[in-house]
Each structure stands twice: as C-alpha cells, then as structure tokens.
C-alpha cells in the first residue's frame, strides 16, 4: 500500500491491522515529549483546495509527532490564484522532492488523478462527495475504543448523506467491520443510488434512535446545497435534528458522534454535544493517532518491505 485513496480499497484485515497499530501511536501522544524520529527526513505536503481546520491540523500534528517535515499549501495564497493547473502544481511540488501529498479537493477522483502524476504517496483527505477515508478510520477507532468491536453493532447515520463523503467512507468502513448501518435522512438528502450501498434507509429518526448503539450526525453542508433541498434548516432540525427530547429515546450507552464542525442547534442540540454519551472530542483526539498510523504505514513501515538477506545482519542488535 503506497496510497490511501478510499475505504473501498481496504479489506477488513487491513483496517483492523491499522486500528491495532493506532494504539501504539496514541501512546506517543501521552509522553512528556510527544515526538519520535520515525519519519525523520520525510517531507509531507498538505495540498488543500478546500477549507479545513481539523483535518489539516490533525495531519500536520501527526506528521510532526513522527518528525516528518511538513509544508502547507493553501489555495488562497498560492499560484493557483494565477491560474496554475492541478497537474502543474502537483509536478512543481514533486520536483521539490517530497514523500507524501495529503490532498483535499472539491472534485471527486482528484487523489486518483494525482497518483498518475506524482511518485509520492497520496492520501485522500476528502474528495468532493466521494470519500474521506481517514475520518472513517478514526470513527472506527473511536467506536472500538468505547466498545471493543463493531461486530453486531447498529449505527444510524443521520443527515445530509447525499453531499457527505464522511457518510460514504463510514458506510463502507462500519459495514466491513461487521456493523449494520441505517441512514436516516429526508429523501432529498439521500444519494440517488442509495440502494447500491449496504444500508437500510429510514425517514423516521424517532423509530430508529431506540434501536441503535451509536448515532452519527452529519453536518448540514450549507455550502454544497445549491438546490432547494430543504424548506429551511429549522424544519430540518424539527424533523431530523437530535434534540434534547429525541436524545431521551437513545439507550444510555449509545454513542453520539459527529465529524465536526458542529452546527450547534441545527443537527444537534447544543447540550447533547457536550454530554456524557458524546464522543465528539475523542474523535478529534483519535484523529491524530490514526493519521500517525496511516503516515507511518505509508512512509516508514517495514512490514511490507522486501528485505534482502544481508540486511538481517545489519538489523540485528
């Protein structure tokens, strides 16, 4: 594996191995000096064509804790403003001798396109409505941390599934790890081919909530809603939001999750986001550990290297 482009590329075993390794990286962050030299000399560039706070900071923190050098590229201050194409930008960056590109773009498929143009490892940090694999991995890690396993769990994904790359990656990851997924959304916010996903569909959040082990709320992506999909956000909250009254339908041990950033008062009641069952802050914390594991597996791991026999002597100590 030299790139991380989508969850659909991964087998259940790959995901589990990565989540097992993540514990090792979580430990590093608890040290007095949370930094190890594992990726010393590697250079990681984040190439973000869309706004991001947590994903970019999370990747950058992860790279720095592993001693990689990081460079940041944000469209607003770069030559893209002068009309440089994605390909030219990628090749310019590559010419500087980098090892990994973390890319976010509003168009689906851009990370695949990049792998054809650059030799560096490519990590998909979100491409359009398509996938956001590291978010799904950190969600799985967070659930495993709370429950030990996803096997047999029932997880509801609520909200704007149509525009959500998080939902797509999560659906694949959760089901690969043995959970069943119900998507809950108004018909206008479901993808047209929702039948192609391994999910159940519901339009009635109140009948679903009592049956789930975790409820995953998606952000209402106002910036992507160009059509009149909803009468108003207030109506969405009234019919699909996790209000305080609906939260009482949840089991006491059910997890409340959200990929952030939260629209408090839209998809979730402000108080519910901070209560005991919410693991939203854990998701952010675990994001750093999971991304450390991803970067290490792509750039520094020996597990998939072919090692010549004479290296045995050098390596022994």
């Amino acid at each position: 594996m030299t790139d991380l482009l989508s969850i659909t590329d991964l087998e259940r075993g790959d995901i589990e191995r990565l989540l097992d390794l993540t514990d090792r990286f979580a430990e590093i962050s608890t040290r007095q000096i949370p930094k190890v030299p594992a990726l010393r000399g590697k250079t990681v560039v984040s190439l973000f064509y869309e706004d991001s706070t947590r994903t970019r900071l999370s990747f950058e923190t992860a790279a720095k804790r592993l001693s990689a050098d990081t460079m940041n590229f944000s469209v607003s201050t770069s030559s893209v403003k002068k009309g440089e194409s994605l390909r030219d930008t990628a090749q310019t960056i590559e010419a500087m001798g980098i090892d990994c590109v973390i890319v976010r773009h509003k168009s689906s498929g851009v990370p695949w396109q990049l792998t054809r143009w650059v030799d560096a490892s490519v990590v998909n940090a979100g491409d359009g409505w398509h996938e956001h694999p590291t978010q799904a991995l950190l969600d799985c890690y967070t659930i495993r941390q709370q429950r030990g396993s996803l096997d047999g769990m029932h997880i509801a994904i609520v909200g704007d599934v149509k525009h959500s790359r998080v939902a797509r990656s999560d659906i694949w990851a959760f089901t690969k790890l043995g959970a069943t997924v119900t998507v809950v959304a108004p018909p206008t916010l479901l993808p047209p081919a929702v039948g192609a996903y391994p999910v159940q569909v519901s339009h009635d959040i109140e009948s679903v909530l009592p049956t789930v082990d975790a409820v995953y709320l998606l952000r209402m992506q106002r910036e992507r809603m160009t059509e009149a999909l909803l009468p108003s956000l207030r109506e969405y909250t009234a019919t699909y939001g996790l209000t305080r009254r609906r939260a009482e339908l949840l089991r006491d041990d059910a997890l409340v999750m959200h990929p952030g950033p939260i629209n408090r008062g839209v998809e979730i009641d402000p108080d519910i986001a901070d209560e005991q069952r919410s693991v939203i802050v854990d998701q952010v914390r675990n994001g750093v550990s999971v991304r450390m594991a991803v970067l290490f597996l792509l750039l520094g791991s020996g597990t998939e290297l072919h090692t010549p026999t004479d290296a045995l002597q050098e390596a022994s100590a």
């Binding site: 090792r24 430990e27 590093i28 390596a315």
Partner: protein, 188 residues
C-alpha cells in the same frame, strides 16, 4: 534485543535451530538473583531505581528482576516496558508490533533507570532506547542490565550488569527463553 521477535517477523523469517544450551533454568535464576544483588549494591539500595524492560525479550527479564528485588529488599520497584521501534536507525527493517506496546507509567525524572534486555549485540537497540527515554523525562542515571552479552558492538555502549558473557560468531543467534539460553543458527 529481541532476537526472538525479529526471527518471528516476516522479513527475517527463518527457523531458529539450537545447537548448544549455554544456560539452563537454574542458571537463569541464579544469574538474575546475582544481578539483582549487584543493582542493590551499586545504588546503595533501590530507593530511586526503576526498571524498564525492552520489548520484547527484556520484558520478562525485567519482571524477574523486579521479583528478585522485592524478595531481597522488600520493595516493589516500578517496572515499565519500552519498544524502541520508532527510534531505531534502521526504521523500515523492523516492524512496529501492536502486541509490543510502550508503557512507562511512572515518572523517570531524577530516577535511576535500569534498562533491561535479553541479549546485547551491536548496541543499536540500546542507543535507540536512550533516545526514547528522553521523551519520558530526565533520569539521574541510566544503567544497563542484560542476560547475555554476545559481543560485536558497533557503538560505544557497555552493560553494567551481565548474566553471562557469551563469545559468538556474528552469524550465530542467541535465544533467551524461560527455560534457559540456547546458541544456534537461524535457517531460512
């Protein structure tokens, strides 16, 4: 460290074929007991002493030393575990194993840290361990206890407490296990 772990992991896959038993279980017990006495003597007791076993081979040895120190001095010395895979100079040649975690659940500032490993060979693991320790704090001193010193050092590192000095050829392998120590070869 951890010749055993390296043999069991794929890039170095091969079967260890023992040729000679160089220590038996009683020898191991006596050597551990003597090393525990030496640690107490050198440090005038065990007040500030903490043990850190290196994954994977040093961990059981650190636990044996801890038990011996408890029996002799009546003090339970803290014992942690350290995996140096992230700190090696040959990262990429050594896998990071989920089952070999780092766990140093006590402060090491001002303590005398006794690093514990099964086999001392080139010294590269110990260099990495010294590097790793700095991310946990600033010990007053670091000492090194190994069951087997097999020579062939590539760095200026020497042990403070040794179970047995064992002259070896570079292509031999040493296996420290619960029932003793074997010298042999790894056959691919």
């Amino acid at each position: 460290m951890a010749e055993r772990e390296r043999r069991l992991t794929r890039p170095f896959g091969g079967v260890f074929v023992p040729r000679t038993q160089v220590m038996d279980a009683d020898d191991l017990r006596r050597a551990t007991w003597r090393m525990a006495h030496e640690i107490i003597e050198a440090n005038g007791g065990v007040d500030d002493v903490v043990l850190v076993g290196l994954q994977t081979g040093g961990v059981p040895l650190a636990e044996r030393l801890q038990a011996a120190l408890l029996e002799i001095e009546g003090v339970e010395v803290p014992a942690g575990r350290l995996d140096v895979a992230f700190h090696r100079d040959d990262i990429g040649l050594r896998p990071v194993l989920p089952e070999a975690p780092t766990d140093v659940p006590f402060p090491i500032d001002g303590a005398v840290v006794v690093l514990v490993d099964d086999v001392l060979f080139t010294g590269r693991t110990i260099r990495a361990a010294l590097d790793a320790l700095t991310s946990f704090g600033r010990p007053r001193a670091v000492q090194l206890a190994v069951m087997i010193d097999r020579g062939h050092r590539e760095l200026p590192i020497r042990p403070d407490y040794v179970g047995k000095n064992l002259p070896t050829r570079k292509d031999e392998a040493v296996d420290v296990h619960d029932d003793g120590v074997d010298l042999g070869e790894v056959v691919k």
